[in-house]
Subunit: 404 residues, 4 copies
């Protein structure tokens, strides 16, 4: 839990560094959920006299002491996106409370696209949008063991697991997995419930999670772009064109992208605000401005990388082909580029580039960038709400000499 | 062979239509090679008194009568890209003539990334760049059966062939394959040789091929973007957000992209020039302006599509998951979006979207867009050479009243 | 009046050429109005049995024989843009018929931003939007002499007229003027009325004007960008940096812009449709795709030009400063750049660049690009309506195997 | 002089706030020069045993105590940009030492585009580029009173001074002025000389000035974009379209731009480094990443503003027109938009918008954005030098398993 601006900067640096190695730190959402609940439960208690914060703290203490891991279940399946939760023909399109008992609650519904859920100990669950009075039953948050009774995972793993390390230097080692979680009337004991019906805090809880989460996404987007930058630079060197000016310019554009995400994260950390509970929340405005940037950036970054590297990204021969000795010899002859670079190094690099920009890994990151952690449209809205447009209009009236 | 502007427009329409169905028409390069040779051999003969045009015509007649197919082998492996052919440490980095006999020539070297080569009857081979006097041995062009003696294919097929139709509605049906072609002293009989040493025509031959080829790429880029447009629109409808204005705007941006490629193609056809042999060559300037556009467009188009469609693009469950009856039931419940649309239709659409934007097919097209048919940098150069900048400067001098 | 695709291509070429010399051909709107009426009056007559086409033809014959000129009054002042004409608190916010007499009609209202009106013989007037039944009184079109009784011009001329040629090589010669036109119950004799209440044709008339007009705008945007291209190239030469690669790349970007507008125009001409009256209408889709491009391009083109040329664009000394002999000598010494170029040539060029990119002329063209000939938002809507999205969705259903 | 990260953040906030009122704080360069000299003189002394830091500190003490103002003379006229200083045909193209006396030095040459010079007390002078050994004579820095003997100003003021406040609510109040400064063998006494021949520190001095200067430019670019944002929002309100989604989206884009510049500034301040003298220097990388962003942004921001506001930006009638009572009445009637907003307010706002986006002020800021404070190309280069690309390549080799 981040208790200062400095903590948030350290988090940025840690996430960026990890992403430079594995692209995804995976444990980010769990940590962000901790931050979110520490902020929101405190505030609910203050206004409603509940004791969520105490409950949460006890859970968190145990969680941290045992170095447990958690996934974050926020996204509802949402059915028809033009309808509010209570307007949906099937009321289970947003996860909801179906029974309140003396010792806990019973929930039903589903959560979609939950990263890492099957390999985590716990799953934090919270609403995916602001809930109004009519949607009170959907304003529910809690934590549940990932093997709880009545909870079903439908997992998709997105990468070619079967690939040998030679062919998939990256995705043979790192993978990801998202779950659909089905809650068939799952019982959640009282001490694990952190919100139940306090709909007027749903927006706060959503923000308290999505802000640090998007903040981390700035760091990992930066780390991933660092990888693409380094790989482009290496490809240019191996191809003998590292001094060509349009190539250098493209690599520089990658650098600018990477640093601009990081800078937005640093700025959001520096301008973070201390919440009532003492937890620091990254600046909402700058976090979301950054989020919009990243959503627009990765597809372009991959384009630049492929442009620098050339067609071999797509056609680099597999290790199976290389097993044929006669072919291997010719491949070594003809895939040679810069004289001082062993062909095998070039082949490995291009397999890496292929792995990163043309297969499942690329697809995963393209989708994550485009809509993961919320769509850019939503991020733009949140950013714009943080700006006082009326104040800016007043400024203009003064400059124009308009008196009302 | 296109004998009028109207022919070129018809070609555009045919390629766009095919691409809307399969994304790739595959037979394009062969046809473009026919055009290229019909132009260049005629012009060589005129100046050099050779009889390439006659040879070519005889070949072409038989080729067309039997509805044969051909791949196009242009791209050399190129070694160190900062060196010219004759400067390469290994002289085989560009395909070259190693022996001239009375009845033909012997060639050595390799061609890279050749689309469709293993399934074609013939392979057209030509230089991949302008050759100067010192590089005369590399100024060679011919046609060779794809199973010629001494010719080895190293094929990579880029798609998940194993996928069932259910999971990969698209790539289970359509696939692509590129070859590395190794020429180990392959003999080419005289009547199949269409250029041998006439280096001053190499630039012309390159342009005579790359121009109609890039022209076709305008059509297929348009067709592919049409697919993304339709799929985005359908996803929006199924998700219940087809009237949301940012969604409509994104779909409109896709429309604009698609039409702008097509329009550049129409314009290049309209302003095509009749060459000495009677074959029409699309306008070089507009073709290359369009090529630069397409190179910048597809990554962005995929981003917009994923943004409109949402995270399910990545996480849509496979048919295997669906075989589990209990899961299938829940999936059907929770993946329902708009009330009137059967969940199975939505699932199929998202598998299609996944197939198209996150797996091998996407990777293939991303790379093809980024550098296929030549890098955008090269296309920009060619375009700029078609514009008389000195004329434009003179105009300014006149407007400024500068007299020299 | 354009009677073939070839005519439309010739118009493109003529407008581009004129714009390369003066940026604005000014007489374009009048010609486009002729085209618009020839199309719409014919179609109204066919359905309504009116005789507008005959009236119009008689007018046009005389107009052309005497080589008269006309402005085009389309844009209404429009009041609150969220309200339809009949909903406006003041009914005069859109020009309307206030009286129908046996020999003609009486109109009241205003037209805004009308280019060239005070120097033209005639003014064509037509609705600025689709009118529904409730807005029938606003569905009126006619032609009126620019000095008609009851018609007041409020003219703004946007350029520094006072400038000497030396300081303003461009704007001292070419200028523009827009009028607000106030119609205080102006009488329009019957034979000059071309639409009166046939609201269901208002959309057609609007399109029949805006399409050829936007089509011409593609040509003049191209011509203006040609000027910026030439001026950038000359500045680079004079500064000694014409071979620097980022400079060449920026000039190439300008080339691409200019040609892409032109290509869209050629394509729209090639795919033009013959209307019932025989007049050809440029392809609506491609015209509007191009219009959106131009609206996004000029600000960027000016940025590139200024980047290439440098700060002297802003600070080039005036001719008054040069009158001081002692200063003139030093200026000549210190403003010298490339050795072979007389300083005075460089000074003239930078005054031209200043004139074009930092003063009234720039402002004029920036606004015209941003919203003139209708806002890009509107153009995008029109473009999107020309595309059959349902057809594209059907294609996807077929590709996905979705059967309804 | 900024002695901590916090100081730099305060500077950002102050400059942004001032720019929101006047667009330009004007006194920024003087302050930045103070920072630059405090850093560089200290470091020269350390290595060379000179006493520049003492000299400078004495000067600075007096300067600050009397609240004096200073301009910053950096930009040389530079002649042929492809040649180094000592290669220029005329050696005076870069300012240089022509005589060294016991009590001071004599300098000759010119400085170009110097903001505010004629209204300042002092002018700081320093090299505009890295100087090598051969260019030692050009490695000179000092401070000179703006009315020194032998120093001539050629001033251009870029705004319509003559404008009445009514017509030019903005530029009638705020203006700018740049000078060419000619140094005709000006004597600079020893105690005012801060560098003389120490060429190996020229790069450091250039960076020590340009970094805080570009850092301030992030703040003023943000302030200016704030003005455009507010003005767009007010125009939308007055036109009755503030709830239209494409309009809101455009205003949101302006918000994002403004905040992204500011965030880069905050990040550069947070990651500032303490130099040997104790002065803090903003992070060079993030400052220059931000500088590139701003160079790309303003032209686009003006485009968006004009798109939102509409054609009246160009054609709003002048106060002179309004003096005609009969016209004034009609103008008031027809320029009314939203019912509750007095027409006069709308007119004032659009005059303000005209003033800001179509006249001299716009021209000034467009050029300043495009190349002021150094061209974006240069900024990109500096940014890229701050990144250790070799480190990034090593990372990739490790990820690929490439061992050398
Ligand atoms: C790989 C991956 C990992 C993920 N991991 C997690 C995780 O660990 N935990 C978690 O909780 N979530 C996770 N998510 C979910 C992610 O947050 C969502 O994908 C995201 O919020 C978008 O929601 P959606 O996929 O339902 O798309 P949709 O909401 O359907 O969005 C598609 C488009 O429709 C628009 N749209 C939708 N509704 C409206 C409306 N009412 N008005 C206007 N526009 C609308 C959106 O702006 C967007 O452009 C993950 C997603 C992915 C792809
Ligand atoms: C899927 C696919 C299918 C293909 N099908 C065919 C086919 O059927 N027939 C065929 O002949 N070819 C085919 N190609 C090859 C294609 O034309 C080439 O990929 C393309 O021309 C780029 O060449 P390259 O891959 O060697 O990349 P490179 O040439 O290495 O280019 C990489 C980058 O380096 C730059 N660069 C390279 N050299 C220089 C230089 N000297 N100066 C400045 N910049 C330089 C390029 O501009 C580019 O940005 C195919 C390619 C792909 C990916
Ligand atoms: C220099 C110049 C010369 C011109 N010459 C002529 C001419 O000769 N003849 C002629 O007839 N016209 C002429 N025009 C007018 C031009 O066609 C209009 O400026 C243009 O149509 C935009 O209209 P507007 O200025 O009223 O702006 P607005 O319509 O106010 O537009 C401003 C913004 O609001 C948006 N908007 C407005 N209403 C709505 C709505 N209901 N829903 C959604 N968005 C909306 C627009 O999309 C735009 O983004 C000229 C304009 C200029 C600047
Ligand atoms: C309004 C205004 C106010 C200013 N105020 C000040 C001030 O107060 N103090 C001050 O010192 N300066 C000031 N400047 C100067 C400003 O810093 C310069 O304009 C800027 O550094 C660009 O230099 P330049 O104008 O000589 O353009 P150039 O250097 O001629 O640049 C034009 C283009 O050429 C490129 N270029 C030039 N040389 C090369 C090369 N060798 N290799 C590759 N590319 C090259 C540049 O990247 C750029 O794209 C001001 C400028 C303006 C416009």
């Amino acid at each position: 839990i981040c208790m200062s601006c400095q903590d948030l900067i350290k988090k940025m640096d840690m996430v960026r560094m990890c992403s430079q190695r594995t692209t995804c730190i995976l444990r980010c959402t769990g940590g962000e959920a901790l931050n979110a609940f520490s902020i929101a439960t405190y505030e609910i208690d203050q206004k409603r006299g509940t004791d969520y914060y105490k409950r949460f703290n006890e859970f968190a203490k145990n969680f941290q002491e045992n170095d447990l891991t958690a996934a974050q279940g926020m996204t509802d399946v949402r059915g028809d996106r033009s309808l509010k939760p209570h307007q949906q023909p099937d009321p289970d399109m947003y996860l909801r409370v179906v029974d309140e008992r003396s010792d806990g609650i019973v929930v039903r519904g589903a959560k979609a696209h939950i990263s890492g859920a099957p390999v985590m100990h716990e799953i934090f669950v919270m609403p995916s949008r602001t809930m109004r009075k009519e949607d009170r039953d959907f304003a529910v948050a809690f934590v549940v063991p990932s093997d709880a009774k009545g909870l079903t995972h439908v997992v998709n793993t997105t990468f070619r697991e079967e690939g040998k390390e030679d062919d998939h230097p990256f995705s043979s080692k790192y993978s990801s997995a998202e779950s659909f979680l089905f809650f068939d009337d799952v019982f959640i004991p009282e001490e694990r419930v952190f919100m139940c019906g306090e709909h007027e805090f749903s927006r706060r809880l959503v923000l308290a999670f999505s802000t640090p989460h998007r903040h981390s996404r700035l760091a990992c987007s930066s780390g991933i772009t660092d990888i693409l930058t380094g790989a482009s630079a290496l490809a240019a060197e191996y191809n003998g064109i590292q001094n060509v000016s349009h190539i250098r310019d493209k690599i520089n554009e990658l650098l600018l992208m990477s640093e601009s995400y990081y800078a937005l994260g640093i700025s959001a950390a520096t301008l973070a605000s201390k919440t009532a509970s003492g937890t620091y929340m990254p600046n909402i405005l700058h976090t979301n401005v950054g989020k919009v940037m990243t959503a627009r950036g990765l597809h372009e970054a991959i384009r630049l990388t492929q442009d620098v590297a050339g067609g071999l990204v797509q056609t680099v021969p597999s290790s199976k082909t290389y097993q044929n000795k006669a072919l291997a010899e010719r491949l070594d002859k003809y895939l040679k580029a810069k004289d001082t670079v062993p062909t095998q190094h070039r082949v490995r690099l291009f397999r890496f580039l292929q792995d990163l920009t043309t297969y499942g890994w690329a697809g995963f990151w393209l989708v994550v960038s485009a809509v993961g952690a919320g769509s850019p449209y939503g991020a733009k809205l949140i950013a714009s709400r943080e700006v006082d447009l009326e104040e800016k209009k007043k400024l203009i009236k003064r400059l124009c000499g308009i008196q009302e």
